[in-house]
Every structure is written in C-alpha cells, then in structure tokens.
Amino acid sequence: MAGATQSLPTKPVSPFLAWWRRTSYTRAAYLYLVPAAIVMGVITFYPMFYQVWMSFTDFGIKNLRRDAPPPNYVGLQNYKDIFPDKIKLFGNEIDTFGTGKLAAKVQNFNFLRILGFNLIWTFANVPFHVIIGVLVAMLLNTQGLWLKKIYRAIYVFPMLLPWLVVATVWRNMFDQDSGSINLLLATVGGWFGVPAEVFRIRWMESIEIPIKGFFPGVPLPLSFYAMLLTNLWMGWPFMTIVATGALQSIPKDLYEAASIDGANGVQQFFKITVPLLRPAMIPATMVGIITTFNLFSCIFFMSGGGPLRMTEILVTTAYDLVRAQRLYGMAAAFCVIIFFVLLILTLITNRITKATERYDA
C-alpha cells in the first residue's frame, strides 16, 4: 500500500525500484517459506529422491563405509525380485514380470500375501472402530443416563496412552502362561468347571489357523485376532469423540418430528442419525484407514510380524529389510512400492468420500 502511494507520477522512480516495491508482498510470502523449504528440501525431499535412486541399485552393507565404492546400477531388478514370478488367479497360474528372488533371502516372504494381509488388517479394524464408536457415543448421548460425565472421562483413556506402551502391555497380556487374558479366561472358565489347561492359548506363537478359508492365500493366525482386539481397544474412543460432537449438533426437533410422524427408533437411526453423522465420520474413517494401514507399533511390538511372517504388514517388512536384512537397495524399492500403494489407497478413499458427499447433497 505504501509503495503504491509513493510511486505516483509526480515522483519518478526507477523501474527496478517500482518492481521491487510491487513485489514486496510476494517476496514476503516466499521469505516465510524459505526456512521450511530449505529444511524439508534437505531432510525430506532429498532423501526421498535418493531413495528412488537407491531402489535401482544393489545398495548393501558393503557400500556403507565412506570410502566404499558406489553401489551398482541394477535397473528394475529389485522390483522384480520383490514381486512374485507367478500369480494364482482362479486356479490359473499367470507369469508376471517379477522373479520372486527376495523370498530366497528373506524366509517366508511373499509380497502379495503381505499386501493382502495389510488390506485385510485395515478393513477388518476400521469398521469395528466406527460401529462401536458410534454405538458408545449414542449410549452416552441417551437422555437421563446417570454418571455420563464419569463414563466419558473413562472412555477417552486409551487415547492418552502411547502405542509403544499399549502394544508392549497387551503383548504381555496375551502371554501364554502369565498373560492376564489367559488367566482371566481360566478363572471364568473355572466357574463353569472348565479345566485351566484349556486356556493356555498360545496367542502370539500358534501357527494354527482358527478359521480357515476366510481369504484364499492369506492365512489369519491367532495373533491377528489378538492384535485386532488390541487395536479395537485403542481405536474406538477416537471415533466416539468424533461421533459425540456430531450427535450433539443434531437438533432434537428432528427426532420429535419423526416420532410424531410415526417413525420408530430404527427408522430414526437410519433416516436421521446416520445421514447426519456421515459428514463427521467419513473424514475420521479416512484418518483411521491410513493410520491402521501403517500401524507399525501394534504389529512390531505385539507379534513382530509372526508367526512365520503371517501378520507382517508393509511398513514392518520394510523395517525388517533395513534393520535385520540390511538390504538397503531392496528396502528402498519396497518403500517406493509402499508409496504407490498408499497413493492408490488415498485416491480411492478420497473418491469414496467425494461420492458420498455428492450423495448427501
């Protein structure tokens, strides 16, 4: 503003000065961006591009030393090695571009099974969180319920705890001999005369598949169900908080009007509560999907991906490739794949969100 008044025709200024004053606003904008741009450029974006380059090399432990020779360029070999050479589809075996050689270095590695498990893990968890979260929110929203405030304070408790602590504690709770889950089951079973030996369940180690044929090619061992339970404990309170906020903003008149028109509770739930909860629950669900898909802490601390890598998800596999296997080039390729999987997942969930929004309008 000051620049504009000073550069009136009566007071001639050089073209450079005029330009300098005219762009002061934009310059300030960029100046505020500079620190973040430099820092993110160096510690975020540069490593990401470096990762793409690494994924085309055989970067290994031999290339770590500073005077070590640079790794060899291997083209798409890493990607080929990660991908299996054959895919079974409806009984037919189809050749792919992959070689599946990583499975020879890393025992029980199977990329498609890990990807499948990751998706099953995500879409088995989040619906439970949302449904239980909404049900508890409705329970706490019941008019005239006693001790509402105390329950509300208790129910947010899991959200206060870090995943590291929750997962390690639950891992001990699922211990075969001393875990509180087995001991509790044995105590309750004792009341009904069931011998305690029945409840020496090997939650984390058992390789038996309790329910077979759920998903072809993706076995779900007991540790999957144990972690499902843990993540359920951890996940629903967030959904309850989001749903409570949305429920309280629904005008009571709507329900009164509906009950005057003769709508019963179920009809009111599906015609009023669900549509009006949707705008709040869908973003929360998306956050839940992405978080659960990358839930490193739960898997790593509880089952460690075991038994036999049956509960490994993409991020825990990548961590294993770096830390235990020290295949840096291969891990880089794996992380590039994770990036694209996440991109597709985000785009799909975004699409669904937009579609339902349009449906609402």
Partner: protein, 315 residues
C-alpha cells in the same frame, strides 16, 4: 443482542422449555439399569489393562511373572519403581539418563518443527502466489507417507556424515542428533499442516484493518497472527513432543551406544527377545513411568487436541 437474550420473554421460554426437557429426560428404571450395566462393562474393558499394569507394578512379592489372576495386588510396595529409577535394563544406564535423552529428542524436534512450521503455515494461509498449491501438495504427499518409509535413505545418508567439533567426533547416524533429524523430517510437514489448518480458522478482519493502517506482513505476523495462534502452537508442539517421546523406529535402527539409548528403546528391551528375566513388575513400573508424563499433558490439552485434529480433517 445480549439484552434480548435476557429479556423476560426469553427467560420464561427457557424455563418452560427446560421443564419440558426435564420431564422427557427421565429414563425408565429398567432401561437405566440395563444401560448402566453396558456402560460399566465398557468401562471395565477400557480400564482392565490399566488395573492389571498398576497392580503388577505395585506387587510387593517381586515375582518374575504373575501366576494367578489378580487386579488388586496383595499389599503394595514401590520396589519396582525403585529398580526402574536405579537401572531399568541390563545396560548400566539410569532412568534419568534415558529420560534426558528422550526429552532432548522430543523437545528438540517439537520446538524445531513448530518454529519453522508456523512460518510456512503463515505463508500458505495468508498469501497468494504462484506455486503455492504445488508446494502445499508436496507437503501433503509427505504427510501421507509413514516416516518409516524413508528410513533406508536417511540411514545411508546420515551414516555418511561424520561431524568433528574440536575433539568431539561422532557419526551423525549413530547420535541422538541424527535421530532428531530423521524424526523432524516427518514432524515438520505435520506441524505445517496442523498450523495452517488453525490459521485458516482465524478471521482476517483484524489483519485487514492493520494492513489498511500500513502494517507490513512482518508486523501482521508478529503482532496479530502469532499471539492468536499461541494455543495452536502449544498443541502442535505437544503433539510433536508426544510422537517423539515414544519414537522407536529410528532410535532402534540408528543408535548403538547405550549412553544414547532412549526410554522407548529400553521399554522394548524389557519385553522383546532381549528381556531375559526382567520381572514383569519392573516392566509395568517402567511402562507407567513412560506413559504418565504425556498422558497427563494430553488430558489437560485434550479439548484443543481433538478439535484441532477434526478441524484439519473436516476441511
């Protein structure tokens, strides 16, 4: 407006309305008891792990593993806490040293990412310039990625840097400083995005008025935006602190010197394959001591945190 709110008519309406609601609010006793039972059951499932851990940590018998199911310990002793304070793991490191490392890591990354994040957030929120949308898209893309997905290049790159200051020489990868850099790489985009979401909700009228009076963008930022954004700064810093307080992946991958170890690593040392015969009472005491500080602050900031998280996602 305020006077009409307290007008006689309104007070009457309120009272009668209130009475009507009171009548409707009464729940039949049978239904009340049924719902109370459901609520109590949910509360029990929520509190069960906590009661178990607290009970274990206070157990005076100092047993390696529980053999029977108890939620109330037979008596109480703070022996386990004493052991944790003295030497939580097999490494000769005291609890306060681990906590100090973790605190440096967490507060360092939190302050760093909020300081730089608020500048970028101001730029994104209040200016219009070529390339803005593109850069924002870049930030969001990084946000979508789990921070662990860039650990391979960070490990390799930080490993190739050796720093020598005077007679102090260390490898950046094998230091808390390097771990801090790796964490900040993931925290900064989150801080930028969270703060931008908050700045977008601050009305611009004040700034426009100040701008007409001739204030420069810098003055607007320091005098108006920064004071108004203080709660968001505190919450964002806390969230970053919270994430780094139990950060595990990078520390576990990078650090090899026991004197650099963090609380998170030590807690895992008491559970995983290296736990040996760590008594569960000691583990429980450690778990509670790690969780307590952040849980208390979380509880105090809870209202702001939840609204902040949902504002960002609803938009």
């Amino acid at each position: 407006m305020p006077e009409s709110k307290f007008s006689l008519k309104n007070i009457f309406r309120r009272k009668s309305g209130g009475g009507f609601v009171e009548q409707e609010r009464r729940l039949p006793l049978g239904k009340q008891i049924l719902l109370q039972l459901v609520c109590l059951f949910v509360a029990f499932t929520v509190l069960f792990p906590l009661m178990w851990v607290v009970s274990l940590s206070l157990d005076p018998r100092n047993i390696a593993r529980p053999t029977e199911f108890r939620l109330i310990p037979p008596g109480a002793s703070l022996d386990a806490y004493k052991r944790v304070l003295d030497q939580p793991t097999a490494n000769p490191v005291k609890f306060w040293e681990l906590a100090r490392n973790q605190f440096f890591l967490a507060s360092g990354t939190a302050i760093f990412s909020v300081l730089i994040g608020i500048l970028a957030a101001y730029s994104f929120s209040r200016f219009e310039y070529p390339g803005r949308r593109g850069i924002m898209l870049g930030v969001v893309t990084v946000l979508m990625l789990p921070s662990i997905a860039t650990m391979a290049p960070l490990f390799v790159l930080l490993n190739s840097i050796n720093i020598t200051i005077g007679d102090l020489s260390f490898n950046l990868r094998n230091s808390l400083f390097g771990v801090g850099i790796a964490i900040a790489a993931g925290q900064l985009p989150f801080a930028i995005w969270n703060l931008k979401g908050y700045l977008d909700t601050i009305p611009r009228e004040l700034e426009e008025a100040a701008r007409i009076d001739g204030a420069s963008p810098n003055q607007l930022f320091v005098r108006i935006v920064l004071p108004l954004a203080t709660p968001a700064l505190a919450v964002t810093a806390f969230l970053a602190f919270n994430a780094s307080w139990t950060e595990f992946g990078f520390s576990w991958l990078f650090l090899s010197n026991p004197k650099d170890f963090t609380l998170a690593m030590s807690l895992w040392n008491m559970v995983g394959q290296f736990s040996g015969d760590t008594p569960w009472s000691v583990f429980s005491a450690m778990a509670l001591m790690v969780a307590m500080p952040v849980a208390i602050v979380y509880l105090m900031l809870q209202k702001y945190i939840v609204s902040g998280l949902t504002i960002g996602s609803v938009k």
